[in-house]
């Protein structure tokens, strides 16, 4: 185990870079899994329903892709006062 740990630490700091734990809502996780399906570029390990292990150098790219997907799926409501009172 110890030698494994040193090996993995060496690998992590060397070629692969440190890993990143991503914690998110299950619905967001399913979108990330979906994004990863294209090229398998991001996810190292699927940990549970709300946690993923992601390649450290891919996190910012993944965040950008996630934003794009959410923009496509969630319509932007304009001129919304966020109040129920203006519904007459």
């Amino acid at each position: 185990m110890f030698s494994y740990f040193l090996d993995s630490l060496h690998r992590d700091t060397g070629k692969l870079g440190i890993r990143t734990l991503v914690e998110c809502d299950p619905s967001i996780k399913s979108i990330i899994v979906n994004i990863d399906n294209d090229k398998n570029d991001y996810i190292i390990e699927d940990l549970d329903e709300s946690h993923l292990l992601i390649k450290d150098n891919m996190v910012s790219q993944l965040k950008a892709k996630l934003e794009d997907r959410l923009k496509e799926t969630v319509p932007i409501v304009e001129n919304d006062s966020d109040s129920d009172r203006d519904v007459k």
Binding site: M1, R19, L21, V22, E23, D25, L53
Partner: protein
């Protein structure tokens, strides 16, 4: 209301990213639980799964020292 609050939170931070290392492939469950509990006690565990015998730590220096000491103690037996 709780659902709405959750949605607002997701709006600002859809995914929480933490850098660190995943510890897995322990020799046995005792090794896992001792090291994971130590890491948890010093507050560096971001995620753990006792069933899978894996945990994610955001700092490793103290865990490394602990594992080194633990290995030496076991060799002495």
């Amino acid at each position: 209301v709780i659902d709405q609050i959750r949605l607002w939170q997701l709006d600002t931070e859809r995914m929480l990213a933490t850098q660190g290392y995943l510890f897995k492939d322990f020799d046995d469950y005792r090794e896992y639980i001792e090291i994971c509990n130590f890491a948890d006690d010093i507050g560096v565990v971001s995620w753990r799964n006792d069933k899978k015998g894996m945990f994610f730590a955001n700092k490793v220096d103290q865990i490394k020292d602990f594992m080194r000491t633990r290995k030496k103690a076991n060799e002495g037996k």
